[in-house]
């Protein structure tokens, strides 16, 4: 199957450019809509391509989900909408849907010959914006542009209502930026939309300079405050108004918080296993997850550290987060989590060595995810969103964890403070022994273990594909998160060869120290290595395995950088994660999770990290290595730190 790269979508650059300028879109629209279609059936794929071309869309076709993801990651703002088959051999269509939603936040249409109610419902719950029954008719494709417009419109509305706290950052980003919410696309759309709805956009006009819509940039600190507030209120009781009051951030509006909360919840949900709670995710999720979350929250504190260490979070933020997390976690789960996680870690990790690495990664991811969660708003309990984030982060953790570990030094100290983390760290080291611990230990063990463990643990669970698993050094923690294990498994390969690279660990630790201090900006240096990894990873094998190869290779190089990766969200983290990524080689480009799949995502492109906030940073980290896509759905996490 040809990616059809050259054909439509590759020209997206030009087309998008055109849009950006806003001089073409309004009139042409919907012509030129950049569609990515994924289907393993070559006959259907060719028919769809022809149909879409007939609709004057720019089409790129893919016959494998992995290919699609890497295409999307490699060109964050290169597509406007994705159409995917449900039934595919290499990856379930719904899983791809989740990834895209988290990493790129593009509208996704599912298709299948199966029109059973159950399957259609699954599409809805996983966030598909539409569901087409095969055989698809051209009439059904003619109107798909509505989903793109609708999404943009909603985002615009958010911006308008909420104003922007730090929209400057975002605005500055060139529309090319891949903000995790495909702001670039939005940017383009914004222009067109702007033309269409002047009154709506009047206020947003000021960011005409960048197509990005002015939106609140959820920096790490801001997110931490958010998470802290949410945790304080309790995920069930966290309403935007109260969160806003608690946060007490001037210029922040209730709408900003509301939309952020929604994303956060979705994220958690995803982390914890979307399938479980499709419908009342937020709420239902909380229920069963509570325990897990509780522990997670404790981990969160750790995660924060990890994240902080990763470089994403400045030390102080970390402290803040930790405090918040701790405060929360105590309330919620208290320390028990680490123990629990530890158990989980072991259980998860034990079974598969490779996974262990992955798990570690995942754990790391989870850690990172946890951290992310923390960032997200330290929900008192790892809310589903957290889990989701964790998951993602877990994935990214793979890379991130590494990084985190690196920062671990700093974080470790922080972690150490947190009683739990500490134990976790130990556990991590021991349990994860595989990679995570190694990483952690080498890096800055304390940090890793604690934060990571926590994060990882939780994250592990979240690491759905186990991609992130790599980093889940947190293995300890993950107990809470059931997922991670699964996910990590996938990572095995990628996840963290780190563990196995003793050299790395040492380097990492060093790197951590360095990173820590510099907020992992240093990871920049690793960038090059990441690239290598990225290339290595590129093979989409989301499995980390492939990546592991790269990792080892990179690991040594990046050992230092690894720590940085963990904090995908945090700019620093990115660095670390990047390193980690390289190490982890996480094929898991799971960017979406932002948690930075340890493996792949640690693409050393720090620049991506700059994105939005922590979440994105984390996610980016994973990508950092590769095309860092601000995967995290969380908007506005400006990962400025992410040095590239």
């Amino acid at each position: 199957m040809n990616l059809g790269s050259g054909q439509g979508s590759m020209s997206t650059a030009s087309s998008s450019g055109a849009w950006k300028a806003g001089d073409v879109v309004p009139d042409q629209f919907p012509a030129g809509l950049r569609v990515l279609v994924v289907d393993d059936d070559p006959t259907c794929l060719m028919i769809l391509e022809k149909m879409l071309r007939t609709c004057l869309y720019e089409v790129t076709k893919c016959n494998r989900a992995e290919t699609a993801l890497s295409l999307l990651r490699g060109n964050k703002s290169g597509f406007d909408i994705v159409i995917s088959d449900v039934h595919m051999p290499d990856m379930d269509g719904f899983k791809l849907l989740e990834h895209i939603g988290l990493e790129m936040d593009l509208p996704v249409i599912m298709m299948s010959a199966d029109d059973g109610k159950h399957v259609v419902m699954k599409g809805v719950t996983h966030g598909a914006c539409d569901y087409l029954i095969k055989p698809v008719r051209i009439e059904a494709l003619k109107n798909i542009w509505q989903h793109v417009v609708r999404k943009r419109k909603n985002e615009w509305k958010d911006l308008e209502q909420s104003g922007s706290v730090e929209d400057g950052d975002r605005q500055q980003k060139p529309s090319e930026d891949v903000d995790y919410s495909s702001s670039a696309n939005e940017g383009n759309w914004k222009n067109s939309k702007r033309r269409k709805d002047e009154e709506d956009d009047a206020e947003e006009r000021d960011d005409t300079s960048t197509l990005k819509k002015p939106r609140v940039v959820w920096s790490v600190e801001l997110h931490q405050q958010f998470v802290a507030a949410v945790n304080q209120l309790g995920i069930d009781k966290a309403v935007p108004k109260k969160i806003l009051e608690l946060m007490n951030v001037p210029g922040l509006t209730r709408e900003n918080v509301a939309s952020h909360l929604q994303k956060y919840r979705l994220y958690l949900r995803r982390l914890s296993g979307v399938s479980q709670h499709q419908n009342g995710l937020n709420n239902s999720f909380m229920g069963p997850q509570e325990a897990t979350f509780g522990s997670i929250s404790s981990l969160n504190g750790l995660d924060l550290q990890t994240l902080a260490v990763a470089g994403q979070l400045p030390a102080q933020s970390l402290a803040t987060l930790q405090a918040a997390g701790l405060g929360r976690s105590t309330g919620k789960s208290g320390l028990p989590m680490p123990l629990v996680d530890q158990r989980n870690l072991f259980s998860f990790e034990a079974p598969k060595f490779r996974y262990g690495e992955g798990q570690q990664q995942q754990q790391q991811l989870s850690n990172s995810s946890k951290q992310m969660n923390l960032l997200h708003g330290i929900p008192t309990t790892m809310e589903p969103k957290q889990l989701a984030t964790l998951r993602h982060s877990a994935q990214s953790f793979g890379s991130i964890n590494m990084q985190v570990n690196a920062h671990g030094n700093d974080s470790s100290s922080l972690l150490m403070q947190m009683a739990q983390p500490h134990s976790r760290a130990q556990i991590l080291n021991e349990t994860t022994g595989n990679h995570v611990s190694r990483i952690a230990s080498s890096m800055g063990q304390p940090v890793l273990s604690n934060g990571i463990a926590g994060g990882l643990l939780t994250r592990n669970v979240i690491v759905e594909n186990g991609r992130g698993a790599g980093f889940n050094p947190v293995s300890q923690g993950p107990s809470v998160v059931e997922f991670p294990m699964n996910h990590t498994a996938e990572l095995p390969g990628n996840s963290f060869p780190l563990g196995t690279n003793p050299g790395i660990s040492s380097i990492q630790s060093k790197g951590l120290l360095e990173e820590v201090s510099s907020e992992i900006k240093g990871s920049r240096g690793f960038v090059p290595s990441y690239d290598i990894f990225n290339e290595l990873h590129q093979p989409k094998s989301q499995d980390w395995e492939l990546q592991n190869v790269g990792l080892t290779f990179n690991a040594s190089q990046h050992a230092n950088s690894i720590p940085g990766n963990l904090g995908s969200e945090h700019g620093n983290t990115h660095n670390i994660s990047q390193h980690l990524n390289t190490l982890v080689d996480s094929s898991s480009r799971v960017k979406t999770e932002k948690i930075l799949d340890p493996c792949c995502e640690i693409t050393p492109f720090p620049e991506h990290y700059v994105q939005e906030d922590l979440m994105s940073a984390l996610l980016k980290q994973q990508e950092g290595i590769g095309p860092v896509e601000g995967e995290f759905d969380f908007d506005g996490y400006s990962m400025d730190n992410i040095p590239v």
């Binding site: 006959t43 259907c44 060719m46 028919i47 022809k50 149909m51 039934h87 095969k134 008719r137 051209i138």
Partner: protein, 144 residues
């Protein structure tokens, strides 16, 4: 409309393929996609389908040989095959696929084996008819 006997023949053959239930509306969708840029689009798609479906058929055949029968896997393969067939408008083939899947649900080995023979048969019949049809259409086009 038809200016020559060949064209009339082509039109007649096409009509009967629909009337006899070999093809459905989806085939018309393919025809509508054919244009100057892709003058042989329909034939290309059908060729692609037959190339790819050979692989699916092979998978199913192999699966039918294993004992005990893995109905889930069989259903899975057939789901793919059915989706592919429906995309070119192969109506009879698609119907047989549905039957096969029902036997899978009922876990009837005999039903599956028997129905699969029918699937293959319809699959082959249609191919021959379409090959003839395309050949005729080409001749009619040339003669035009």
């Amino acid at each position: 409309m038809e200016r020559n006997p060949l064209q009339r023949q082509v039109a007649y053959m096409r009509r009967s393929l629909f009337d006899q239930g070999y093809l459905d509306e989806q085939f018309v969708q393919l025809e509508d996609l054919q244009d100057d840029a892709n003058p042989n689009f329909v034939e290309e798609i059908v060729t692609l389908f037959y190339t790819d479906s050979a692989r699916l058929i092979h998978n199913i055949e192999q699966a039918l040989e294993s004992r005990p029968l893995d109905f889930i896997r069989l259903d899975d393969y057939m789901h793919q095959f059915k989706g592919s067939s429906s995309s070119i408008g192969a109506k009879k083939v698609k119907n047989e696929c549905t039957q096969f899947r029902e036997h899978c649900s009922a876990r009837s080995a005999e039903g599956c084996v028997r129905t699969f023979q029918q699937v293959k048969q319809e699959h082959t019949i249609l191919r021959r008819k379409l090959e003839t049809y395309f050949q005729l259409a080409r001749q009619a086009g040339l003669a035009n």
